[in-house]
Amino acid sequence: MDIVEVKQGGVSTFKLQGRLDSNTSQSFEKRLLDAISDGTKNVIIDFKELDYISSAGLRVILKATKTLKRQDGKIMLCAMQDYVKEVFEIAGFDSFLPIVASLDDAFKAF
């Protein structure tokens, strides 16, 4: 998996590419938690080019969301393929995680 990280106007965007599974989730977790401990409060995760996610990926996003909440931060998820979104729905994560259609929509939320 490739992760492209962009900081802009107080928001850190992580563009995910490829597969977020048990082989790749640890490096993503590190990148996310490093950014948060460096002071990032506003996070966007861009799923546009993510082809695959497993529960190992959900776990990382849940952890980051909990950590951000404790620091009064905010997370937005955007541009998911329909079958990736389905995974969030089955997990019930869509009830507390804001999932929007596009990166633009995600930026507007901050």
Binding site: R19, D21, S22, N23, D51, Y52, I53, S54, S55, A56, L58, R59, L62, K63, T65, K66, K69, D82, Y83, E86, V87, I90, A91, G92, F93, D94, S95, F96, L97
Partner: protein
């Protein structure tokens, strides 16, 4: 005119074998003209079960083989997973409460829940020291 077929192979109990599983499933998907969504859902279910077997199934440090058998017939895809790990019936697991709030939501415990929701049918049998898990899913053609 539907394509029928079956394939059997073994994976070692090593996370690197996820790539092999994914590669073979892509081949199956292409041969059967599975939709991207259907292939994704199959891959995800197998990934979760395979990862669990590796993570929780074995108490020793030796090499084990997980047998995968996939067959397609009459628009139903059937996958049988066999492992010689400790007896474990995933169907018995109590599902996590869904939907929940962020504070209630516990980290973990989602794998089996995903499998049950993505597959149309899941059945389990312990047969001569082997966990035999059978998954069924109707095929949506792309």
């Amino acid at each position: 005119m539907s394509t029928t077929g079956s394939v059997s192979f073994e994976l070692r109990n090593n996370l690197s074998e996820l790539a092999t599983l994914c590669e073979k499933m892509e081949g199956v998907g292409q041969t059967l003209s599975l939709s991207r969504r259907c292939l994704f859902e199959m891959n995800l279910a197998l990934d979760e079960l395979f990862t669990n077997i590796i993570s929780y199934g074995f108490r020793d440090q030796s090499e084990h083989f997980i047998r995968v058998h996939i067959s397609a017939d009459h628009d139903v895809l059937t996958v049988v997973l066999e492992d010689d790990g400790i007896a474990f019936n995933p169907i018995d697991r109590i599902p996590p409460e869904v939907p929940c709030t962020l504070d209630e939501c516990k980290v973990g415990g989602l794998g089996i829940h995903l499998v049950k929701n993505l597959m149309d049918e899941v059945s389990y049998e312990r047969r001569a020291g082997t966990n035999v898990l059978t998954l069924k899913k109707s095929i949506e053609k792309s």
